[in-house]
Every structure is written in structure tokens, then in C-alpha cells.
Symmetry: C2
Subunit: 384 residues, 2 copies
Amino acid sequence: MFEIAARDGAARTGLLYTPHGVVHTPAFVPLASTATVKSLQAGEVAELGYEMVLGNTFHLFIQPGPDLIRELGGLHEFMGWNGAIITDSGGYQVFSMGHGSVAEEIKRRRDPRTSRVVAIEEEGVRFRSYLDGSERFMGPETSMEVQAALGTDIALAFDECTPFHVERAYTERSMERTHRWLDRCVSWHREHAPAGRLLYGIVQGGVYEDLRDRSTSYVAQSGVDGIAIGGSLGQSKEQMREVVGWSLAGLPEAPPRHLLGIGDVDDLIHAVAAGIDTFDCATPTRLARHGTALVHDPARRWRLDLGKAAHRRSEEPIDPDCPCPACREHTRAYLHYLVRAGELTGKRLITLHNLTFMERLMRGMRQSIEAGTLAEFGDRVLAA
Amino acid sequence: MFEIAARDGAARTGLLYTPHGVVHTPAFVPLASTATVKSLQAGEVAELGYEMVLGNTFHLFIQPGPDLIRELGGLHEFMGWNGAIITDSGGYQVFSMGHGSVAEEIKRRRDPRTSRVVAIEEEGVRFRSYLDGSERFMGPETSMEVQAALGTDIALAFDECTPFHVERAYTERSMERTHRWLDRCVSWHREHAPAGRLLYGIVQGGVYEDLRDRSTSYVAQSGVDGIAIGGSLGQSKEQMREVVGWSLAGLPEAPPRHLLGIGDVDDLIHAVAAGIDTFDCATPTRLARHGTALVHDPARRWRLDLGKAAHRRSEEPIDPDCPCPACREHTRAYLHYLVRAGELTGKRLITLHNLTFMERLMRGMRQSIEAGTLAEFGDRVLAA
């Protein structure tokens, strides 16, 4: 179900086989959290070269609900997406409510649609829906059931994502509970999942090397098909790379590895070099909706804020070498205007651009690994 | 510059020649008020079959400003649209501020971006910008200058659009001022406009037959290239048809005729039968952004509110015979969900559908006029 095709140091290209086709890795996975990559049709995402999107178990649990999506043929059918789908477990969103401003810290922003945690128990989490205030419950089995109702190709085990500055004792207790929840997810999966559906376990353990070691071993031996690295990855890029390194150190080669919630250009390059296969992240599409385009400019963290007055008169495209419709057909001046005026067309055009940028970056990495030149490729991107 | 190709009763098909290509009439003209047909790229609008869009002189005057658009090559270049552009004069928006809730009455809704009228004078109108509160001025020459800066193909003369329940005396005084403003626009146009740019005058006169007669004669004899029918068209569809009838009665055959701000299916059918050539209206695209699709259902005013719970489980497309991406690729259930969740993808898909619907309706009318069967076509649509 995962076939490593080429290696370059710790990096590898691979073929990830799912019930909805193969995913060529390393791959970036765009967010279709709410059953849509915002502003795009599913078919357009496929045209950009993507083979997998990420659906959000928590949001779809709340609206429109797993029963409706199952009744309508599953998430693929519902949103018109024929490629692979990975669904997060809902744990991150459920716990974000509880951690509140700490979750904000991890993601640098709080999801406006937060609900309220009522209780975190061994069984799972009780919380109030952000839609209607009703009390809801999610635990490992619920999460697996919801993901099954969605008809996901890759399910993620239910976990608690601990923020980086909770104390070590809490991080440890939480990790141990996440491991017990993993076992329950594995049991559920063995009993109920159709052939071909994959289950990924999630490595937690915060910023503590020994906890990461223990979590890595636990997840690797749990019988899952793939391994996701989650939780707090630290408060700086350096710490994040260290934590990812610890998490990877104890992992067997064979299972595919997903890094949750990471999507900055430099982070992707380092993580691919370290042996990560897939990534999901809200940043490229969220930045787009706020007017920021991704560009080859490491000095500015690969970000071009089109809302800035400097672009008001620019007749240049975002990037003359980019094949996306925003770059082929429009000037920075027009995009600047659309961003300032809050126009939907601007959000959409920059989304198309940013996803084109990400897919070209990942393709560049795949080709470089095949050619054994990932280090040079990385240096070139990081020094562009 | 306007060539009548076929006739069927008072209806006609025609070829409207502009500096940016020919427009086959009768035609519906989508609104690109703010230099974008909201959620679409210009190229997509062309792919839907449209040959002309309408730009809004007032909004573009305020943001990003005519000087910038001229500097960037004009509105066509700015927004990437290669077809024809007609621009309204700005009069409607400028006066909407003054008339306030009365404007609301005409359009059933008030533009949230209203500014404040400071003074209406013979020279023109002073008002405060909704962006920064600065005092601005627009009169006939300003309007023509702005439209010239935009590089429009068809300019509309500056007018006051009187709402239907201002008293007759005001309607008459306003109409007479609009006529004087028309003369100033014609003078400006003769002196400054490049070859090929067309100027349309606007018939006013409210709901008073004798005023409409006078206005029609005045505009027809003013030397304009085409005639737009504007102003209050009454408080009911019956009154609107009566007023349009009066306005058309005194018109020569040759000039093209535009009906401002009308876009309901039944109104288009009646107006085409009465001899109107082009239409603009915010309704099809605005309804789309609020979740309402246009469908062949006269009993429901051709409207299908996809936000309604009835569509929650519907696996049908909006219309099985429609070739748009919303209908080819998605169910009503998915669109219902997108509308409820406020997703951009939903606004865009329904916009694509509604503009596909409008273009197919107009094409049907063009073909029926050529075949001499417009009455049957109209009966079929009105009784569908």
C-alpha cells in the first residue's frame, strides 16, 4: 500500500495506494476541511495536479453531519472528488476548544468556529456544537465511525494535540491516553473498516525527546498503516525540526509518514529531506484568501502581500514563470485591487496560484529525489 | 454600428459593433460593476458566451480610480476582458445616496456602500466617498471623463434616476435637467471621444406617459448612438411594461435600445418582444451569491432557493439539461450545504449556473426571432 520508489539520503519518493488512486509522494495535501477547497471545485483541484485532499472530521461531524454524507454516497461523491481523501480525526479541533488561546498559539490564529469543551474523559470529549449549542460527544470510536461514514481513504486515529507550553506531566498523561485511544481506533478499524482503507496513528509527546521516542515506538508497533506526526512541534522552526527528527528517528522505513499542519516552504524542504512523505496545511489557501501569494522569495518567507500599496501600479504578474490563471492572465495591480476591494475573484485567483506554487514545489522535490539532487534543489529554493 | 439582422413583430436580432467586437442582440449584459463579475475571471465570462459586460462608473471612480485604470491601459486591460464594455454613467449610484430608502424601493435593496449626497446642482452632484469620507463631485463632464479613462466601448449619459413615488413636478424638473446634462454629454463626446466609442442617452420621465414621450423625443433627437430606458419603471411589472412601451413608442428603429436594470425572465421576454436589444441587471449574479439558482419554473418566479431544507438530501442537479459545471458535476444537496456553510465555492458555482441560464435564455430568444417564433418561445418559457 506504500511503495518507496527512489531514495536520496533520508528522503524518498513513493506511491501511496488508496481506494481512490495512487498518491505520488512527497505530496502536499490541500485542505478541503469543509468538503470544499475554498473557492475551487473538486475537479479544479485535480487539474492542479493534486491526488489527495484532507477532509475535516470535526467540521463535517457538525455540518452537514456524517449520516447525510454517508446517505449521499460518502465524501468523494458528495463533493465530486475522485482522488484520495485523508481525514483528520477531529481531535485537533475538539481540543482546540479546550485549549483556547493555546491552540491559537500553535496555529497563530484561532478558528472562529470554536465550540466549548464540556469535559475531557477517558471515554472521549463532550463539547457544545458551535452551530446550535447542542452537547455532542467525540471519542476514538466516534471519530472512526464518522471517518467511515465519510468514506475516507486514510483515517487518522483520535488523539489529543497538546500545545507546546502545557507542562510535561500533562503532555505525558495526554500522550498515554492518546496511545490508549490509538488501540481503540486500531480495534475499531480491524473490525469495521473495509478492505483498502488505511489507518494512520499519530505520534505525540510534545517537545520532550523521551516522550517522542516512547510515542514513536508505541505508534510504530500498534499495527497502523501509516504514521502521522502531530502535536506541538515547538515554538520555533529549529525546535520543530528537532521534534520531527526525534519523531522520525525510531520509525521503520516502510510505513508512509505524514506531518500534520506544516506547510511553509522551508519546513517542507527540511521535512522531505528528513523523510516525510505527505503534508497538510491551511496556510497556502488561507493566505490566499487574505491576499498573500506564495513566491520564490525566501527573504520574505516566500510571501507576497498583494494588498500592499507597492503593487498598486504593478503590471507584472505575481510570477512570470507560473502557469496559473492569476499569473497568465492578470497583473499584480489588478490582484491588489481585488484584494483591497475584498472581491471573491481575488481570493480564488490567489488560491489557484498558491496551490499551483505548492504542487510545483513538491513536483520539484519528487524529481530531485529521483535524480539524487534534493540537497541542491533545497539549497536553490532556500537561497532563491 | 448597429445592424438589425432579423425581425419578429417588434422584436429584432442585431449586431452591435463596438471597438471590442460585435455583440449579438438581444443580449443580457452581466454586471462587472467593480471590474469583476463577482467570483469569475473575465475569460470565464467570455466562455459562457457573453460578448459585453457592464462596468460601474461610480464604483470605479471611488476605487481604484479612473486615473489608475487609464494608466494601466483601461478597464479591458485592467480586468483582462477582451469583449465589449458598457459603463453606466454613475448617476444611478450618485443619486441613490440622496434618495436613500427610495432607491431601496426601486432595487428592493440598498447598496451597503452608500455615500452621502452633499448637494445636487445644475453643474452636477457633490457627495462624500464611502471609502474615506472625502468630498467628491460628479457631473456630466466628469462622468464622461471617467468613462473615457475606463476606455469604455459604450458610454451612458449622466442622468438622474428618479424613484417612482417622487411627485410629478420633481420628476419633470429632474428629467429636464437630465436632458440638459445629455446635451453636455453629447458635446463632450463629440469633442473628445475616440472613433468607435458609442454614447447612449437615457430616457427618463418616471411613470408619466407625457413625460416619457417628451424624453423619448428629446433623447432620440440628441444625436446619440443608442438609447437606454432608465429611471423608475413603476411599482409593478404591469406598470413597468406600460412605461417601457411608452418609452419605445416614439423611438426610431435604427438605434440600439438598452433597458437598464431589468433582468427577470418574464420581463426580458416581454421587453425583447417589445423591441429591446440589451439588458443589464444585478439580479442573476446577486441571487447566486445568496444561494438562489435560476430555473425553468415560472410559478416560483424562475427561482430555486438552494438554501431551503428541501434540498438537503437531493441528489438531483439544479437542472439536468444545463451544461454548467454546477449542474454537470454537483447535486442540489452539495450546493445546499455550500450555501448554508457560506462557502465561496457555492457562490461561484451558482453564479456560473445563473449566467449560463441567462445566456441560454437570450440565445433561445435570438434563435426564435430568426425563426419568427418568438411568441411561441415566450409562451413556452412563461408556461414551462
